[in-house]
């Protein structure tokens, strides 16, 4: 199940080993972008929507092709084109203070709207404003609607301010799905809604979700066979994106799980861009999204020091499956509502603190690291309190670094590296103190 090849872009032509899951994902993503960019030619219609609150199974019921602007912004971040797009958006009047995902997207449109495969993104036929856990999404699609002037469908997800999902919330969402979202999707697509078709997709989702959870929870082992932050960015791609509910996703997660179990059986740590990680020295829980413009450089700061992330909140931003949620094909609309309501950033701050503290205990982590993102108030507002509270509850040290999603101006490598090194020293001191006390 392993393919070996040489990537020309890597200095000194380093040999990279790609596992079957990586090959599968690459093929899936390439296929998706080809499908998307050829939509006008093949007569397919396109729905733009978001990762948190992504209703992929429902979208597929209407034969719509899913386009996720955040994922496009991430791609632009990784390819280092987002910086110019952000500047372009600021040039045409968008504030320097607001979300750079939005500005990368707006700037990309202004600069030709090219997909990663070099072809133009088609204009969306519908903006499915199914957002959860972030007010910016609402404004983002109002901005896109102004541009595309297409049908925009709002699905409002109430916030879990009191730490629970109430009957009122679920009924509100189901009613929106039944009476607003589905009829409008039928109208745009010309496809009649079939609830049994939705059930079938949801059954497939569950299979992939089960395997994803097994992969993420493998990090409870020592050494952890995965990196649950940097590595998990790849792992969550298919299920948070355009593939939840597909056979492709089932196959991808089956491969991935087998590979991770194999690494586990051989006592191996995570795979990094530089190959196998060395000895695991620090086990961290990370809160907040990563920086994408210097993603590899950022990751390297961890694995060079033997630091592995064993759990992260960002890998729950498109669905919190490890706490037990699975899509329920027997209650298709209710389960979509529950999914949206339970997404990480739709959880109250006390819930988020509970979750992070629990991760530190269950994954036997050395501490919490917060990567605070300038663009993302949904994540960032309150993180300093979260840090202190998690430290207090777990007795484990926490640290705080700052960067941005896709704006290269807000990634200061030297500053972050310094802080990380200090943090690792702090962990060492804490360990030495604990040993001395024992």
């Amino acid at each position: 199940m392993t393919t070996t090849f040489v990537t020309p872009k890597v200095a000194a032509a380093k040999e990279i080993v790609k596992d079957a899951s990586m090959m599968k994902q690459k093929e899936m993503m390439a296929g998706h972008y080809d499908r998307l960019t050829s939509a006008p030619q093949i007569g397919a219609k396109v729905a733009a929507t978001f990762v948190p609150g992504n209703l992929n199974e429902l979208i597929m019921c209407f034969d719509l092709v899913n386009n996720l602007p955040e994922v496009n912004a991430i791609q632009n971040g990784l390819r280092r084109t987002s910086g110019a797009f952000v500047l372009e958006a600021e040039k045409i009047g968008h504030s320097e203070d607001v979300c750079t995902y939005v500005k990368s997207d707006i700037g990309m449109m202004a600069k030709g709207n090219m997909a990663p495969n070099g072809k133009k993104f088609p204009d969306p036929d519908v903006l499915l404003l199914s957002y959860t856990g972030c007010f910016t999404f609402m404004k983002w699609f109002e901005l896109l609607r102004e541009q595309y002037k297409c049908e925009t469908i709002m699905l409002h997800t109430p916030y879990m301010g009191d730490g629970k999902i109430t009957k009122n919330m679920t009924e509100y969402m189901v009613k929106q799905l039944k009476e607003e979202v589905i009829p409008k999707l039928e109208r745009v697509s010309g496809v009649k809604f079939d609830i049994d078709r939705l059930r079938e997709y949801l059954k497939k989702s569950v299979k992939a979700e089960d395997d994803l959870v097994r992969v993420l929870q493998s990090a409870k082992n020592k050494p952890s066979p995965i990196d649950a932050y940097f590595g998990a960015i790849y792992y969550i791609g298919p299920i948070f994106g355009a593939f939840r509910g597909t056979d492709d996703a089932i196959e991808y997660y089956k491969f991935l799980r087998a590979e991770v179990e194999d690494r586990l059986a051989h006592g191996q740590g995570p795979v990094t861009p530089d190959g196998d990680m060395g000895k695991e020295k620090y086990r961290l829980v990370v809160e907040g999204p990563p920086n994408y413009t210097s993603f590899r450089q950022f990751w390297k700061m961890f694995y060079d020091e033997g630091a592995v992330v064993v759990a992260s909140s960002y890998s729950k931003v498109g669905g919190v499956y490890d706490l037990g949620f699975r899509h329920d094909p027997d209650n298709p609309l209710e389960t979509l509502a529950e999914y949206c309501l339970g997404v990480y950033t739709n959880r109250s701050l006390p819930m988020r603190i509970d979750m992070l503290s629990r991760y530190i205990e269950e994954y036997e982590a050395d501490g919490l690291l917060i990567n605070s993102i300038k663009s993302c108030n949904s994540f960032s507002a309150g993180q300093l309190l979260m840090m202190r509270e998690v430290e207090k509850r777990t007795g484990k040290p926490a640290a705080f670094i700052e960067s941005d999603l896709v704006d290269p101006r807000y990634f200061s490598a030297a500053n972050i590296k310094n802080r990380l090194e200090s943090y690792f020293q702090m962990i060492e001191q804490k360990r030495a103190g604990a040993l001395a006390a024992a």
């Binding site: 045409i92 009047g93 968008h94 504030s95 203070d97 607001v98 979300c99 939005v102 404003l129 972030c134 007010f135 910016t136 609402m138 404004k139 983002w140 109002e142 901005l143 609607r145 102004e146 002037k149 925009t152 709002m154 409002h156 109430p158 916030y159 301010g161 009191d162 009122n168 919330m169 009924e171 509100y172 009613k175 929106q176 009476e179 607003e180 109250s348 701050l349 006390p350 819930m351 988020r352 603190i353 605070s372 300038k374 108030n377 949904s378 960032s380 507002a381 309150g382 993180q383 300093l384 309190l385 509270e389 700052e402």
Partner: protein, 395 residues
Amino acid sequence: MDASLKKSTTVEIVARANALFEDLSFAAAREWKAAKPGRKVIGYMPIYIPRELIHAADMLALGVLGGGDQLEVIHGDAYYQSYICRIPRSTVELGVSGRLDFVDGMLFPSICDVIRNLSGMWKMMFPHVYVRYFDVPQNYRDDIGGNYYVNELAELRHDLGELRGKPITDDELRFSIALYNENRRLVRELYAFRAERPWQAPAAEAYLVLRAGMVLPVEEHSAMLRDYLAAARAEERPRRDNCRVVVTGAFCEQPPLNLIKSLELAGCYVVDDDLLLVTRWLTADTPIEGDPLRNLASAFLHQSEATAAKYEPDLKEKGQHLVRAVRRSGAEGVIFAAPSFCDPALLDRPMLQHVLKDAGIPYIAFKYAENSGQMQPIREQAGTFSDSIKLWSGT
């Protein structure tokens, strides 16, 4: 002459309102609470809370709008990164410094991610205070968003009843709705009067009189509004050669009072704005007859202000509230004044500017923080804007 019959002047009324505004210990609200055993105070943040429910529970609705430019933020900055607006940090400062220690409950409306997350922080920091994130529907159908909102209102009504130790009755609620209807009518009257004769009701004065409604019981605030309107109508004041502007974007974190004064000193009469929206969120009287919660819900869905925190389902309608505000108040331009790092206002701004451009309405934009101290750049920008309107508006 009997002193009780003496009519107050604008100077006296504004002095009282200013004293309330400057008092960061909230003495008036503390006195109200202390005046009768068992009284309770419920704080709320911008932009909208159905204050009728609080009043119906015999409680005082206290607007908590940050610390302004007079509060030294010592602890609050330790809770927020530099790229987050100032209102949450000064609100935390008010809390941890004990200035809100008499407040029995805090409501955090659905406005943005920062205020939303502050609700969770408040729960953790002040565990003995009743805290609720108050969600509102972004779906405006009576049978969908309306039903959801009625149930949310019912939950709040139930919780406030529990806090009081006695459920809130429909009649109590109807009585409160009537009082707030009257208050909103007076606020609208003040806005209409200012739009007609802005030199008679300067923006800073109107703001202070409105702001008094954040700390006073509604009955007392309505009396103040009536008195101010009567006094402002009776006094003749010099008219300046100012242009007329609508100020928008300032619906949450409040600009310093000096900023509002500076705009008028720089040559811009403020004839409409979105400051303190809670005072006129509902744009028409809420019916008294029938189910009071359903009436409040219906008013929210169909007769409430448009603002960045609300989804606008109709593309054609986006930003038209601003064009209407310009036409209604006879304004000649719009000033976008938004707090730094305010996601809703700043994300909305380009769309609103496009609408204004299409409508041929000139605008300028700047940012502020509630503690901005340097007004000279704003004065220069507003002055240039005023000059350009006066010189070029006919061309």
